[in-house]
């Protein structure tokens, strides 16, 4: 009897030891709960961190930022306005039903339908039609040649037509069904969302059996959760919190440059920055390296163009801005009266106020008269998007188009037709329009390089830095942060 028992115990021990040690759950602390889990509705980080694990998108970006197949296995530009996508076979939704080209067409039509009212409409409204061709392919038609189409399709999630139609908008949002590596399990309002691994996933589903995304609004608490071992991955922390993590062997700090570009907008219609010399002085006065390396310390990189290496259209040949406060002082001294015109620097709480204060200080040190105007976000948006006469003299902003294409950042901030832009230069407009509709990579790149050069020479606005994002993770979690701030659970692993 004892013999058998011994054997049994040994067997149990062997099984226990042999079973994969990495079979565990992951807990991610986000700053807020998702606004929606229907991928065609609200679009903000706390939502898409979660729902992009539930859904597959038409295409995706790999960890190096290259566009890679997901539901579309290949694509072919048939004409200037037509793109043909081959749809992956053998993909099933979490309820077991197959994902068909019909679902793809439905998803495109759903998000582009103005009556649906998706906040993401602006990213997809160039698509005018979607239809099935040859039974297994989908043809997308755009209003005109649209080079950023593939970059936008990275964000287009495929939803199951039958289920969405049956459940309706609200019920689908409350219990979404996708085809992704993780299936929705439970949403405790205000607390957390729980996902379970989809073992029937067509690709690698990742090492975690369950994933819990929690809403933890206070950054210090998120860091404490990580240190206490109750969270495996935390987002939205700053470099001060990062320092706390650095000395601890159980956790690690991860950083990646993003596609957000911080910049100081100038009002070209109002003194003092209607004067080119004073714009130059402002640029010379700002110590970009000091701000990124001394102040922010999260891996930000100074930029001299409205693009980053994460964007198509970034030009590596644009030289960095000079920092020369003495020269700036000379320029302002020559026009001291104009330079001392009171100027307001518009900002909102969401931006890092250390930067705003540093910029104010640096500008005032060389003879400007800048004061900070901090308002809540909607008011700030109103100010920076108003006509030049009502607009502030200066504004701080951080731009992201989530498309990694220079079009999404230069057009809104530099084209005269954009509400964000206080620049009105016909040549820039023409270049931006050309790049927007050309499918030729070289033509586009040249146009953007020229725009970057003009902006740099004339200081139409002051690019500052490429923002970085920090994550805290447990030391055995392998997670590679990307420029588009994605968080795919199936690309993570546990080190032994």
């Amino acid at each position: 009897m004892t013999h058998i028992l011994k054997r049994l115990l040994t067997a149990v021990a062997v099984v226990a030891l042999a079973s994969p040690a990495f079979a565990r759950d992951i807990t991610v602390d986000l700053a807020g709960e998702p606004s929606s889990l229907d991928p065609h509705l609200q679009w903000n980080p706390d939502s898409y961190y979660v729902y992009r694990n539930i859904f597959d998108n038409l295409v995706t970006r790999d960890n190096d930022g290259k566009i890679a197949p997901q539901i579309a296995t290949s694509w072919n530009q048939i004409s200037d306005t037509q793109l043909e996508l081959t749809i992956r076979e053998g993909v099933t939704f979490h309820d077991g039903s197959p994902l068909t080209p019909e679902d793809v067409v439905y998803s495109v039509k759903r998000i582009t339908n103005p009556d649906f009212g998706s906040p993401q409409l602006g990213q997809f409204n160039q698509i005018t039609d979607a239809k099935i061709v040859d039974g297994s392919k989908v043809m997308l038609t755009t209003a005109g040649p649209y080079p950023a189409l593939m970059a936008q399709l990275v964000k287009l999630s495929i939803v199951p037509k039958k289920i969405v139609e049956k459940l309706g908008k609200d019920a689908f949002n409350a219990a979404p069904v996708g085809s992704g590596p993780y299936a929705f399990n439970k949403w405790s309002r205000g607390v957390s969302v729980t996902l379970n691994r989809n073992d029937a996933y067509w690709g690698a589903a990742g090492p975690f059996e369950n994933a819990i995304f929690r809403a933890v609004p206070d950054a210090a608490t998120r860091v404490a959760d990580l240190l206490a071992g109750t969270a495996d991955l935390v987002v939205s922390i700053d470099s001060d919190a990062g320092i706390q993590l650095k000395g601890n062997a159980k956790v690690k700090l991860l950083s990646a440059p993003t596609e957000r570009v911080g910049y100081v907008g100038l009002n070209l219609d109002k003194p003092p920055f209607n004067d080119p010399d004073l714009r130059k002085a402002a640029s010379l006065a700002i110590d970009r390296l000091g701000i990124t390396e001394g102040l922010l310390q999260a891996g930000e990189v100074p930029m001299a163009q409205m693009a980053s290496p994460a964007h198509f259209g970034y030009s590596p040949d644009i030289p960095a801005f000079e920092y020369d406060p003495a020269k700036a002082k000379e320029l302002t001294a020559a026009k001291s009266e104009l330079a001392s015109t009171p100027a307001t620097l518009a900002t909102a709480p969401v931006f890092d106020q250390r930067i705003v204060q540093a910029v104010q200080q640096m500008l005032n040190d060389v003879g400007f008269n800048v004061s900070i105007s901090m308002t809540d976000m909607p008011t700030y948006l109103n100010i920076v998007r108003s006509e030049p006469a009502e607009n502030s003299e200066l504004s701080f902003g951080r731009w992201s188009c989530a498309c990694q294409d220079a079009d999404g950042i230069t057009y809104p901030t530099l084209h005269s037709k954009s509400r964000w832009s206080r620049v009105n230069v016909p040549e820039i407009d023409a270049l931006l329009e050309k790049a927007r509709v050309s499918l030729d990579v070289k033509t586009r790149q040249n146009a953007y390089t020229k725009v970057h050069q003009m902006v740099r020479e004339n200081h139409y606005l002051l690019p500052m830095y490429q923002a970085a994002v920090l994550y805290g993770s447990s030391s055995d979690l392998e997670f590679m942060p990307t420029a588009n701030e994605s968080m795919f659970l199936n690309r993570m692993s546990i080190s032994e």
Binding site: Q42, W43, G122, Q123, P217, D225, T230, L381, N382
Partner: protein, 308 residues
């Protein structure tokens, strides 16, 4: 009595209506939520389209009318941000806030009362001074600091308690203490004052003269007689606790109404804010109404004053 009830009920309704109207207009004067819902790259056309979807393009008075008529049908509306029925969102938070307020009240009473009592009995001695020092510390520590310190000590270093979140009884302990500290100080001081007041009275002296022991004296005489001011501040403290939960809820990721309010205000989620304020107003107004009615039941002079 009926006339009194109708009178007070009418007043309550007018007050609720006033609060709702005020909140409706002030919120809408403070800015447009559309810009926050859309990506930065949104064009004016996108913004306009969203305004139509949300019904924000209509004249303010039309929106107000629609809001009032929906309200009469008990339809509180949908959250702009969360795409869900607002009552579902708000009602899921109510039990959490009540739990926390109750937990804090228990902490405040269980620790604050004995502290006050000991301070009064040992007045002038070192013990009393030491406890007073603790009470002052409780009163002056800001919640966001004491909360984070507790998380650090009990959540990160000792790992006795979960560092944040909700779900089990253990989750409730630290937030309750953090929120209860201030009330604890209030209770301790009020109790001390009330007991000291009683200590000087004749019945205490005669009891002592009869040789009643301190323990018995406290239990049977002092505590009971000192209870009156303590009970009356409890009602006040409870509403204080409900209001003061905002910071504690943020620090401990406690999904209560306070946290929801702050987040909804920041996101300009008008419908959610309206509902929470409406609820707060109703609770306050009807609690007062109930108190008034009770008062008139206890003291007939109030009712008679209404009739004359």
């Amino acid at each position: 009595m009926l006339r009194f009830l109708l009178n007070r009920g009418g007043q309550a309704l007018i007050a609720a209506f006033g609060v709702v109207t005020l909140v409706f207009f002030i919120q809408r004067l403070s800015g447009d939520p559309t810009a926050l819902l859309l990506p930065e790259t949104a064009t004016q056309a996108d913004i306009d389209a969203m305004r139509v979807t949300l019904g924000l393009d209509r004249p303010l008075i039309v929106q107000y009318w629609a809001f009032l008529s929906d309200l009469l049908r008990f339809d509180l509306g949908r959250s702009f941000v969360q795409n869900a029925d607002v009552w579902d969102i708000v009602s899921s938070r109510i039990p959490k806030t009540l739990q926390l307020a109750f937990g804090a009240l228990v902490v405040a009473l269980l620790i604050g009362l004995p502290m006050g009592l000991i301070m009064a009995i040992t007045r002038g001695k070192h013990v009393s001074k030491f406890i007073m020092w603790i009470v002052l510390a409780c009163q002056s520590m800001p919640t966001f600091w004491s909360g984070i310190m507790m998380i650090l000590v009990f959540g990160v270093w000792l790992r006795w308690l979960p560092s944040s979140g909700t779900g089990t009884f253990a989750h409730l302990i630290m937030p309750s203490i953090a929120l209860g500290l201030l009330s604890l100080a209030t209770y301790a001081r009020i109790t001390r004052a009330a007991v000291l007041d009683e200590l000087g009275k004749d019945y205490v002296r005669s009891a002592r003269a009869r040789g009643v022991r301190t323990g018995r004296l406290v239990r049977h005489h002092l505590l009971r007689n000192s209870m009156i001011p303590i009970i009356s501040i409890t009602a006040l403290e409870l509403s204080q606790l409900l209001a003061g939960a905002v910071i504690v809820e943020t620090v401990f990721a406690w999904p209560g109404l306070g946290l929801l309010t702050v987040q909804s205000i920041a996101a300009r989620d008008f419908v959610v804010v309206q509902t929470i304020v409406l609820m707060g107003a109703f609770v306050t107004i009807f609690a007062n109404l109930a108190a008034d009615i009770l008062y008139s039941v206890v003291d007939p002079r109030v009712r008679l004053a209404g009739q004359s």
